[in-house]
């Protein structure tokens, strides 16, 4: 093994320069004031106090979390049946269906989101069709609906693939055993398939919730200029206001929230392993 150890050095270097150092810089910026130079920095909690004392920021944060949770829940309820169908399909169909789900991911996310703008806007496809049917103009773009739609659309493949992997790894003899013990199809699903696929659902949640809570271009494009989620606030602090310290503080708050949510998911996952649906 020893001779391979040196092969990890480039990676260690990469981690340090590209991940650890920037993280430390975010922490450093978050706890200091604007206008520091390298020699004199003064530690302060002002950035955090500013964030939590302003009701606007707190409500933006709350809003972001709500949107992300709604997105995740929709992804579970749409993604699970889809993943289940794929896992039940014949081998040939499995390949085709998985491909259909992954193919859109080959195209840049930004481009796909722009496409939704075209579909949803006032002279877009949907409103044109509705107009033909005699239904008046419906405001679709620049709504919560549009933002959630955009997020679900972009992030649902992660949910489907995670659940599908968990389902296809399951030993079919469990279902035979359940059937042997008197469980019909519905009972087998609820008591065996569902609890055994839970780890897949949980890692799907992680993969959907994290990008959803911090996304900034989807709300920007589909929610319109006034639509502000926490991702947009961070973006504007860095790019428009030039207040890196405050931006870093918000990023750090997000990071803590994400860490807490990941911890909870892990915990649920571990309990799910030992105690399942049957009680």
């Amino acid at each position: 093994m020893k001779q391979f150890r040196s092969m990890a050095y480039p990676y260690v270097f990469w981690i340090n320069v590209m991940i650890v150092v920037p993280m430390l810089m975010i922490v450093m910026y978050a706890f200091t004031q604007k206008g520091n130079d390298v020699v004199t920095f003064r530690l302060t909690l002002d950035n955090f106090i500013y964030f939590f004392s302003d009701p606007i920021f707190v409500s933006v944060l709350k809003n972001s979390l709500v949107i992300a949770v709604v997105t995740t829940v929709i992804c579970i309820f749409l993604g699970y049946p889809m993943a289940y169908l794929i896992s039940q399909a014949s081998d040939r169909w499995k390949v085709i269906l998985v491909l259909l789900i992954t193919v859109p991911m080959w195209i840049n996310m930004l481009v796909r989101t722009y496409a939704w703008v075209g579909i949803l806007q006032e002279n877009g496809i949907i409103n044109n069709l509705l107009g033909l049917m005699g239904i008046g103009l419906v405001k679709l773009l620049n709504t919560d609906f549009a933002v959630i739609l955009g997020m679900v659309y972009n992030f649902i493949p992660f949910m489907i693939l995670q659940i599908y992997t968990a389902l296809s790894k399951m030993d079919p003899s469990y279902l035979e055993a359940a059937s042997d013990l008197g469980a019909n199809k519905v009972e087998s699903f609820l008591r065996i398939t569902l609890p055994l696929s839970l780890p897949g659902v949980l890692s799907g949640i992680t993969l959907v919730f994290l990008p959803a809570v911090s996304s900034f271009f989807i709300p920007k494009l589909l929610g319109g200029g006034q639509y502000v989620l926490i991702g947009n606030v961070i973006e504007s602090q860095f790019l428009i206001s030039g207040n890196w310290n405050f931006g870093s503080a918000i990023s750090l708050i997000m990071a803590v929230i994400i860490m807490i949510s990941m911890y909870i998911t892990k915990k649920v996952d571990r309990e799910g392993q030992s105690k399942g649906g049957v009680r």
Partner: protein, 523 residues
């Protein structure tokens, strides 16, 4: 006893391959039935049809006077212990065992009592809270049995449940399973390929082969009176000898008359005679019903497996002339070449080809440095269809040459009237180096001597089982050596507690009850 399960002409096909060829089988209440056979015989398919996991293409499964052929598994009063147990990994031991009862929505306290009783039966009462993934194979096995039995099924199916356990554990579980079956008093249908397991546990054994049933019977019936050679061989090692049934209760084999207990054969019908190794006794030569020589002794833990040859097979002896000839060296072309003299049977001359001659003379040419083979492109000879010695010259493109002699002699073959077979071999020449370098000398000697044997009845090949020589291949010197090739004679496997030496002259003793007669070609 009541018929509980009836298979009626069950046929099952997978991808155009017939896996079950019309199975008819009755299983009674409280029976321990074993489906026994090698892998691929259809035993597991039959079990899965009974469990409801497969539907037969033809035929019916009758359970308790009801046709259940199309009934899904969850509606059958049958439970299964799966090959790899299929315990639910997300549930603990208690929850696994309680699964079936929970599905049936039995009251909590009833479930509790039943599960605890069942865990006690399999000796796991303190393990309820354990994760199933943390248990040993034997414990998982017990959980699987408890999980199935707690539902109080009328039949328990076991699909090679002991296959994953080590030998000691397997023996233990065999007794355990038998004990459990007696205690709960239900029908067990057990699938295995292990004949010993089948013999120790079953009330009834169903021997299967290629999707059909060979024999159904109690372990003693199957062991003592196998219907054919297949069953006899599968159920345990056995001596099977050709014989003729003179009349009821009298059989001839090895030219001697013996009393037996079998009846109902046609007069002078040819039969297979089965004598189990443990039914034979080795006694002093003069007291035996048959006489023989001990050929090999193998210690099997509890007894010695002794092979006694009562009659040698057909044998032929040829001479091997060993020389130290060195290869011819052509320094100009940097080539080396070698060839042996060889013997030819006069009947071989008609069909002699160049490549035959090269092979029989073992003629080779190679590059002196790289040792790469060089093709021999010219074979020159002049042969006449009469005994004599004819020279042959081999040469390569580069002009390297070597000569050898083809020696034509009369047919050298031995016919055995008794075994109705013929054996053939020729004298041959060989080099010291070739013998020293041989990796499988017996096989090489057969090739060099062109030795073969065949049956006079149908021309089928007869195996040469023994090659006898008295030189030491490691340190062989040039000279002439005898090599003898033998076919198998009459050999008896005997289980003895005493140790005999190879070469001992002994007698074999057995009684009329030890002789079992089977119809010829019964499978």
């Amino acid at each position: 006893m009541r018929k509980l399960i009836q298979f009626k002409n069950i046929v099952k096909e997978f991808d155009g391959q017939l896996v079950l060829k019309g199975i008819n089988l009755d299983i009674y209440e409280n029976e321990f039935v074993t489906l026994l056979g090698p892998s691929g015989c259809g035993k597991t398919t039959l079990l899965r049809i009974l469990g409801g996991f497969l539907t037969p293409d033809e035929g019916q499964v009758i359970f308790d006077n009801e046709d259940i052929t199309q009934l899904p598994p969850y509606k059958r009063e049958i439970n299964t212990v799966f090959q790899k147990y299929a315990l639910f990994p997300h549930l603990n031991v208690y929850e696994n065992v309680a699964f079936g009862l929970t599905i049936k929505k039995e009251p909590k306290d009833v479930i509790q009592q039943k599960v605890m009783r069942m865990l006690k039966l399999v000796g796991l009462e303190d393990y309820g809270e354990r994760k199933v993934t943390e248990m040993s194979g034997g414990q998982q096995q017990r959980v699987a049995i408890a999980r199935a039995l707690v539902n109080e099924p009328m039949v328990l199916l076991l699909d090679e449940p002991l296959g994953a356990l080590d030998l000691k554990m397997r023996k233990e579980m065999q007794h355990e399973l038998k004990k459990i079956q007696k205690e709960v008093g239900i029908t067990f249908v057990f699938v295995t390929h292990d004949q010993e397991e089948a013999l120790t546990m079953s009330d009834k054994i169903v021997v299967m082969k290629d999707g059909g049933i060979q024999q159904i019977g109690s372990p003693t019936d199957i062991y003592n009176e196998p219907v054919n050679e297949y069953v006899a061989k599968f159920i345990g090692e056995s001596n099977i000898i050709d014989g003729v049934m003179v009349k009821d209760e009298e059989v001839i084999f090895e030219d001697k008359h013996f009393a037996c207990l079998d009846k109902g054969f046609a007069p002078n019908e040819k039969v297979d005679v089965v004598i189990r190794p443990e039914d034979l006794d080795i006694v002093p030569k003069e007291n035996g019903k048959l006489k023989g020589i001990v050929k090999s002794v193998l210690f099997k833990g509890v007894h010695y497996e002794t092979i006694v040859e009562t009659r040698a097979g057909t044998s032929i002896t040829v001479q091997m002339r060993v020389s130290e000839d060195k290869p011819v060296v052509n320094t100009e072309a940097n080539e080396m070449m070698s060839a042996n003299d060889f013997y030819l049977d006069i009947s071989d001359i008609d069909e002699l080809t160049d490549s035959d001659i090269i092979a029989r003379a073992n003629a080779q040419a190679w590059d002196a440095k790289t040792e790469d083979w060089i093709s021999i492109n010219k074979v020159e000879y002049n042969i006449e269809p009469a005994n004599g010695t004819y020279p042959v010259t081999f040469s390569t493109q580069a002009g390297t040459m070597i000569s050898a002699n083809m020696i034509v002699r009369d047919v050298n073959r031995i016919v055995s009237k008794e075994y109705q077979e013929e054996i053939f071999a020729v004298n041959f020449f060989q080099k010291v180096d070739e013998i020293k370098e041989s990796m499988a000398l017996d096989t090489d000697l057969k090739t060099w001597a062109n030795a073969s044997a065949w049956s006079l009845e149908d021309d089928s090949a007869v195996e040469i089982t023994e090659v006898v020589y008295d030189f030491d291949p490691e340190n062989i010197e040039p000279g002439v050596y005898d090599v003898t090739f033998k076919t198998e004679g009459y050999e008896y496997m005997v289980d003895t507690t005493d140790r005999y030496e190879v070469g001992d002259e002994v007698g074999l003793l057995f009684g009329p009850e030890d002789i079992h007669i089977m119809k010829k070609g019964g499978y």
